[in-house]
Amino acid sequence: MSGMTTDIDLIDDNGIRIDGRKVDELRPLKIEAGVLKRADGSAYVEWGKNKVLAAVYGPRECHPRHMQNPAKAIVQCKYNMLSFSVSDRKRPGPDRRSIEISKIISEALEYVVFTENYPRASIDVYIEVLQANAGTRCAGLTAASVALADAGIPMKDLVPAVAIGKADGQIVLDLNKEEDNYGNADLPIAMIPRTGEVLLMQMDGHMTMEEFDQALEYGKKACQMVYDVQKDALRRRYTVQGGNGDVDDEQSQNNNSEA
């Protein structure tokens, strides 16, 4: 919440938001798995106006060495925004915000990966935000877990994420940029629908307990929806592979490079 104020009505009298959505409605979400050749696994997420790429390399030798864990692999995520992904050009290189986001996404992913299968290794996840429009950490985490699956890394489950927020005093699902800039609260969460386990949760702004409960309800349902789109992307990736020799080759190439 940036502290900026505006005269814009973010939600009209009929409960319709400026981009035409209802308060509990997600923006259009499109996920594609296996979009990069060099990476061991990859995914592309288009979520509203967000465009996010995720790539996975590994398990591979962990650098720097002192980070190695003799009992298990570590998951090292780097979240990065391209310079032109935002209104004012962002200087290339990590800032404090992206370092924090990288950390909490790494932690969320580490929970689902069977890291004990790969002692001393590193599983490197790169999230690149090509175009940003609020909710990029959730889009990035959503893409990352699909990329991990695409890389063939054994996981407990996929990790869908979504932000719930508050705008014009109402709890709304999946904030867009204007709602994020001029809204009252932001609550990104990542939750495994099957178990109800929360792997990522942050909140800033102002919410009463009742509002928070409402937000969690929205979040639960939305995570299930995101999860379904993730599954579908992997299913399509798998189907394409089955029916297409060319892509099959590429997949076997990936397997070689993992070995």
Binding site: S2, I104, E197, V198, M203, H206, T208, F212
Partner: protein, 257 residues
């Protein structure tokens, strides 16, 4: 912030005690260690506080300068929060730029102060669009025995509450106290196997699966949260933690008044 891996024996001891609802130092699960707050500790700062939370020791200073506002908030003072995990405080802290852990810590403290709207930043505007007060909230850890999140936050609000805006020496009128509106309190729990406990010591942090920090205001409303570490909370656990946080916060808030 990587601490050496704890011996399996020590770890087992903590786990075993917790399975019967007990902690190594005898505290209740929602009990804080002894808290000592010393304000106005540093004369060269506009506000300061030294906070000891058990053996954890932090020093917070507020420095204020006249400067330019950000373009999109021309009528508000600027808040910059910085934490320094100096190598004096722990064998595992290294000199150099802050690592991801230190950055997360600083950003969580910053959000707790900022999102609670504790400071009335509009009263720190000197001339619209041109001159505002720039607040540097600098937090140094002097001795590290766990729960930096809460020790630093207590230090931050204690320092802010004793800050005097140095208007006179900057030719901006008479000095006045930092304009404050709210009194947020932050609490942190860790989850160890199936136990959830407040104010973890360093040993408890070393075996923790997940962490949850909750900031609430004097009205009992949520202002900020941060889940950390590689473990998970269920939604029910989250709600229980928030309920307990509201309860615990009352005592902590009383320390401030």
């Amino acid at each position: 912030m990587a601490e050496p891996i704890m011996s399996e024996i020590k770890k087992g001891h903590i786990h075993k005690l917790l399975s019967t609802g007990k902690r190594v130092d005898g505290r209740a699960l929602d009990e804080y260690r002894e808290i000592k707050i010393e304000t106005n500790y540093i004369e060269s700062a506009q506000g300061s506080a030294r906070v000891r939370l058990g053996n954890t020791d932090v020093l917070v200073g507020v420095k204020m300068e006249v400067g330019k506002p950000f373009e999109d908030t021309p009528d508000r003072g600027v808040l910059t929060t910085n934490t320094e995990l100096i190598p004096l405080a722990s064998p595992t802290f290294e000199a150099g730029p802050p690592d991801a852990g230190a950055i997360e810590l600083a950003r969580v403290i910053d959000r707790g102060v900022r999102e609670s709207e504790m400071i009335d930043l509009q009263k720190l505007c000197i001339k619209h669009g041109e001159e505002v007060w720039i607040n540097f909230l600098d937090i140094y850890v002097l001795d590290y025995d766990g729960n930096l999140f809460d020790a630093c936050f207590l230090g931050a609000i204690a320092a802010l509450r004793t800050t005097i805006v140095p208007a006179k020496e900057n030719d901006k009128g008479e000095d006045y106290p930092m304009p404050l509106r709210h009194l947020p309190i932050q609490t942190t729990v860790v989850k160890i196997e199936n136990s959830i406990l407040f104010d973890p010591t360093l040993d408890e942090e070393k075996v923790a699966d997940a962490r949850l920090t909750v900031t609430t205001d004097e009205n009992g409303d949520l202002r900020a949260m941060q889940k950390g570490l590689t473990g998970a909370f269920t939604l029910d656990e989250v709600k229980q933690v928030i309920d307990a946080s509201l309860r615990v916060s009352k005592d902590l808030r009383n320390l401030m008044v």
